[in-house]
Amino acid sequence: MLRWKYSRPLLGLLILITAIGPAIHLGFLAEPGMQQTLAVAFLYGALALTYDLLFGFTGLLSFGHAVFFASGMYLTAIFVNSAHMSLFPAAAIAIFITSLLATAVGAASLRTTGITFAMVTLAFGEAGHIIISRNFGNFTNGENGLALNADRVPSFFLGVANTRYLFWLALSVLAITYFAIWWVTQSSAGKVFQALRDNEVRASVLGLNPFVYKLLAFMIAGTLASIVGCAMLVISGSASPRFASAETTIALLLMVILGGAVTRWGAVIGGILYSLASTRLQDFSKIATQHHIPKVLSGPLSEPAFTLGLIFILIVMFAPGGLSGAYYRLRQSYFAKKSRKAETE
């Protein structure tokens, strides 16, 4: 599709700046704190992109997607801590098991469609969340979360001085996810996903089995989410039940809507901005308190959810297509103007 053409230079630029930044000690990017924040933001960008494959490209409104993210995290942590495996083999097995899990959950939920599908996935997601937070079988350490045993993590991922490697890890995972999703959505199977989203009846008339393709999308999205989960485990050092909750999936939905679905880079930008906003809006609100803003306002402003929710409502009401949609609209009117000008000259 055409859109790749536009987004390629933009994304390339972003990757270039951020990748080289820490290496050459470029300003704020040299601070480990900032590197860590950005690393987390990149991973959310990648995760939002996996959700875009489901929701945007295939039209599957799943409320259980976060569970596969969490499953990547927890399984890796469990294999490292309890089975005394080293990080990379543990992650590989965790990703493999999650892909099986996603296939099983997908096969069951995709027997339903529409809102019922949303509810079944919500239920599966809650089931996963409950298993993790109630610590069934004593694997997950319940509400306290599960810290990754640092002894088995390669030393270059440890310590403040090495934060830049975490940064690069996150960036590579984002790039890998991006190219994987780009490849999937450009492939012939990806075209079928979109045809199914637009008109399932017509697509099945062509002799395609909707179930198989939707399951494929579900499985790919879940597997990619677990890869992001493994990276998140390394970067944050521990897994926590909140990563499996429906709130996390809803956050992914917000990210995709914020950036705009089906454009790929929209979801990435949405995820990055959302993540940065949730961590940085608090600092912003401290300023608001200092400047004698009345308490009626400063209270809500100190909650990132207030600003995010408001922006979200405004986007849904007035700017469908999110940031990327707005960008394309601007571009279009700019070129329309230009061509009109060319005609008159």
Binding site: T112, M119, V120, L122, L253, E303, A305, F306, L310
Partner: protein
């Protein structure tokens, strides 16, 4: 036997609370196709209005004060629901995904506003002194407050059924759940029914919010979390748009959860979720839902 009675009645009490949350959710979805993620917010708003009424207006924990606070809480939540519907939902006419998304936004914003104003700490809701009493049935000691929950839910079920069965707006709602387009093609402004349903749904959730606050000991902006999810589960099991279905499913889930939790502590939630998956895979439209075309 005594534990059986105890668990059954507390299960029914819990089911009563679920019903209050689920009934509005079910009607709103059934009639308008709106998956209302702000329903938990209705509950919280109701609880806060009830708290305000009971502490700022009454200054007493008499039974009368509690009941009035509960009703005012319901009305407050109903008005809030109506405002949300008029301001946001009606402008996204028939864009169901966007409508659901906007309700997610409302839940975030209102949660943040309440958190910013009142903090997320638990605020004690005054309850009548007899709430902590127990009555003995057989040899089981049953907490008395559960009977209030059950009675309130029954009263609201009665009101809902009364409105649906015996009023014109109820007739329009029942018909609209099945085929909204045809209702308008008979010359009826179905939007009035939408507003009525939002108000009623908000009212039930608000009343539920005050009772849930009493059940949990107090009010906080975060109190809706799992209740909303349970609301969804009840609605889906009972069948979207069916009030009777919601009532049956709420009972089923309340009782199941209590029994499982008694024998295997902590597993109640899990079993309920599995129950949901099982029902949906066998009967995607829920126990009493219409088969969608």
């Amino acid at each position: 036997m005594d534990t059986f009675v105890l668990i059954s009645i507390t299960g029914v009490g819990l089911g009563a609370l679920y019903f209050l949350v689920a009934s509005g959710l079910s009607l709103i979805y059934g009639l308008m196709g709106v998956l209302n993620f702000a329903h938990g917010t209705f509950l919280v708003v109701g609880a806060f209005v009830g708290l305000w009424m009971s502490t700022q207006v009454f200054h007493t924990n008499s039974t009368f004060a509690f009941i009035v606070s509960m009703i005012v809480g319901g009305i407050g939540a109903g008005i809030f629901a109506l405002i949300m519907e008029q301001l946001l939902i009606t402008r996204l006419y028939n864009r169901h995904i966007d409508q659901a998304l906007v309700t997610v936004g409302v839940a975030l914003v209102v949660g943040a506003v309440l958190g910013g104003w009142f903090t997320n700490d638990l605020r004690l809701l005054p309850t009548p002194p007899w709430f902590i009493n127990t009555v003995t049935i057989g040899k089981a000691f049953i907490p008395v407050d559960r009977f209030l929950y059950i009675l309130t839910a029954l009263a609201l079920l009665g009101i809902f059924v009364g409105i649906l069965k015996f009023t014109r707006i109820g007739l329009i709602i029942r018909a609209g759940v099945e085929n909204r387009t045809m209702v308008t093609a008979l010359g009826i402004n179905v939007k009035r029914a939408f507003s009525a349903v939002f108000f009623l749904g908000g009212f039930a959730a608000g009343v539920g919010g005050v009772l849930i606050a009493a059940y949990q000991g107090g009010v906080t902006p975060l109190m809706a979390g799992s209740w909303l999810i349970y609301g969804f589960i009840v609605v889906v099991i009972g069948g979207m748009g069916s009030i009777g279905g919601s009532a049956v499913a709420a009972l089923l889930i309340g009782i199941t959860k209590q029994f499982v939790n008694y024998y295997i502590p902590g597993l109640g939630d899990f079993v309920v979720v599995i129950l949901l998956v099982a029902v949906l895979l066998v009967r995607p439209q829920g126990l009493f839902g219409k088969v969608s075309a």
